[in-house]
Amino acid sequence: MKNPKVKKFVNLVLEPVAFGLLALLFIIPSITVINLEPITKVLKDLDVLGVSNKSEISINIIGGTHQIFNREKIEAVDGVYTYTTVLTRREADRYSKPILEIINNTQEEAILEIYGNTALPTGSDITMIINDQVYRLQGSNGEITSQKIAFVPNQKYVIFLAVESFSNVQFEEDFELKIKKIEY
């Protein structure tokens, strides 16, 4: 490129592109590393009915990103499954997100006891939705309701968590949902 005008023009075009490329060289590795973080996904063997019965209920976290429901996790201790999430500060409104997928692989109906609450009552009404049916978990005054729900064999259920506040919430809340099978 001997013509200085052409050289100047090419530089003018290339420079912003190079700046963008430089920024990308920092952004892409950061996003990749964040995305590479492993997560705990499949939790099986909720139902240990006996040697001859290999059936089970599986609970999978749905994951994904959401503006309000952050840092979702699920873990099991002694047959009780605990789903946790952080509800970020938000404006007065109703927010919902699919959080868990429950599959009853057994040959019989399974009844699960599900209850959940925030660490501190904050005036939010927290419900869960399963097959368009709304179940209250925590009322706006902080009262917790335990729900016993029957899960039909060989069917997949998606649990939605919904949070409704009538005033702005200015701080984060830790929410915990517990799931355990009721044995008869």
Binding site: L25, F26, L36, K73
Partner: protein, 182 residues
């Protein structure tokens, strides 16, 4: 395109590659060494759809912490090397005793060529800060051991000091200290 931008692009490639390689290799190598079974799925969780899964929370916690540590080491070692090299190089010019010490430790090749620029150190340090920030974020979210985040913070803090020192060395080349000459 300016020379500075060209150099910045050239110098950023290696730490960017090492950052990703350190994290991903960390996950796979630690899983292989400890015999953890991992699963690669395609759920949308973030910008990319590929996701690595473990079946137990403790394993996820351990693997994530160790891979974070590996990523930190992979970025910290070259950064510390570049900073040390620059400081030693400058010191040998100011103090002949350093040459003797350098010869004693058999690292004379570190001071034979001044090929380390402040830009290079700054870029490596920036990647180290990025990695540390991610590790600290993970630690706050309960995904990484706290001690890994503490190590990351300490390494970043001292590398920032080293980078400042390198900046001082670089500016002294352009504007030498007055008390040296007058």
């Amino acid at each position: 395109m300016s020379k500075l931008l060209k150099r910045a692009l050239k110098n950023s490639l290696m730490p960017a590659i090492l950052m990703i390689a350190g994290k991903s290799l960390g996950i796979f190598v630690i899983s292989a060494v400890y015999g953890f079974s991992l699963e690669i799925g395609n759920d949308i969780n973030g910008l990319f759809s590929t996701q690595i899964y473990f079946q137990e929370r403790e394993i996820t916690y351990f693997v994530n912490s160790m891979s974070d540590l590996l990523m930190l080491i992979v970025l910290a070692v070259p950064t510390v090397y570049l900073i040390t090299k620059t400081i030693i190089f400058q010191s040998t010019m100011d103090n002949p005793k350093t040459i003797v010490k350098v010869a004693k430790f058999n690292i004379l090749n570190w001071i034979t060529k001044d090929d380390t620029t402040f830009l290079k150190i700054f870029i490596w340090c920036a990647f180290l800060w990025l990695a540390s920030a991610i590790i600290i974020k993970n630690s706050f979210e309960g995904d990484t051991y706290t001690w890994v985040a503490i190590v990351g913070s300490i390494v970043s803090f001292f590398s920032a000091f080293g980078t400042l020192k390198a900046f001082e060395v670089e500016t002294n080349k352009v504007y030498p200290s007055n008390n040296k000459y007058y």
